[in-house]
């Protein structure tokens, strides 16, 4: 179901295969993602979609009830890693080196935020991912983002202990 974008490199193979179950497990292990209530809704060859439930403690403007931009930043940063893992087929450790978010309009108070990320390019060391977020209609987005990740296959896995 995943990994069609790039042929897995030998150094990636020791990491767990990317599946909905392994990604859900990874999300479950990340305290901030749990705290925000973010869930992966779907995953494809190089794409992933997640949902952030609206919650009063996540509001950034008490006068309007609009979510804090940082909450959407976190949702997108996290989702870009999932799309990257979907693209390369293995949960290779990675870190964000650059993230740009354009906040097209305020998130609608009371509504969930849905985001979709697509991994556009992977090299031996880098991955480039684009993302969009919306409330109700994908064609009426609230944010665009582009994100660059660095792959760290020399690091220990975060999902499970690598098999020796």
């Amino acid at each position: 179901m995943a990994g069609a974008l790039v042929k897995p490199r030998p150094e990636w193979l020791r990491f767990p295969a990317t599946t909905m179950a392994s990604m859900a497990e990874m999300e479950e292990s990340i305290p901030q993602i749990k705290a925000l209530g973010i869930r992966i809704e779907s995953m494809g060859d190089a794409v992933a979609q997640s949902r952030l439930p609206y919650d009063a403690p996540l509001v950034g403007d008490p006068e309007t009830g609009v979510l804090h931009g940082g909450v959407i930043t976190t949702q997108i940063d996290n989702l870009c890693a999932v799309a990257l893992h979907a693209a390369i087929g293995h949960a290779v450790p990675c870190v964000t080196i650059d993230l740009r978010v354009e906040y097209l309009k305020p998130a609608a108070p009371g509504l969930d935020v849905i985001a979709r990320a697509e991994c556009r390019k992977v090299t031996s060391q880098l991955a480039f991912i684009a993302a969009t977020a919306w409330n109700v209609d994908e064609n009426d987005p609230i944010a665009f983002a582009s994100c660059t990740y660095m792959l760290l296959p020399e690091r220990e896995s975060r999902a499970t202990t690598p098999k020796t």
Partner: protein, 149 residues
């Protein structure tokens, strides 16, 4: 209803204490941010805590949370600099991640690089033990509420 944000900002301009303003913004409170100020403006401190972790193996603070700290600090700076009684609307944010952010106190301070009537251009830097070794830096644009003009 308790004191409004505008009341809190007005009071802070008298006392110089912006913690009440910060705590009236739910997500800043959720992150446990504490605001102090020097002559250059507010310094926001985010204490290390379990719920802000993004990588439990290292462990490290979630990159998105570092982004949220940088954005929050820019927002506090704009309100401190008397440019707005309301939360300014973010237009965009670019975060450069420079070092892994360990789960300890993280500080951030912003500067206004260009102040227009409607737009503020901001630079923000975050650091931990050593200010000379920032963990992240951002630049961002904010829309200033027009009713303040």
């Amino acid at each position: 209803m308790t004191a409004t944000l505008v009341d809190a900002v007005r009071a802070a301009r008298e006392t110089g204490d912006y913690q009440t303003v910060l705590e009236s913004i739910p997500y800043m409170k959720f992150l446990g941010l504490v605001v102090e100020a020097d002559e250059k403006g507010p310094i926001c401190r985010m204490p290390g805590s379990d719920h802000i972790i993004g990588n439990p193996v290292l462990p490290a603070i979630h990159g998105g949370v570092v982004g949220a700290l940088l954005e929050s600090t820019a927002i506090m700076h704009i309100m401190w600099s008397r440019e707005s009684l309301h939360v300014p609307k973010i237009i965009n944010l670019t975060v450069e991640y420079l070092r892994s952010a360990r789960v300890v106190d993280t500080y951030a301070q912003a500067v206004i690089t260009k102040q227009g009537r409607r737009i503020a251009n901001m630079r923000v830097e975050a650091w931990q033990a050593d200010r000379e070794k920032p963990v992240a830096a951002a630049h961002a644009h904010f829309l200033l509420p027009r009713e303040d003009a």
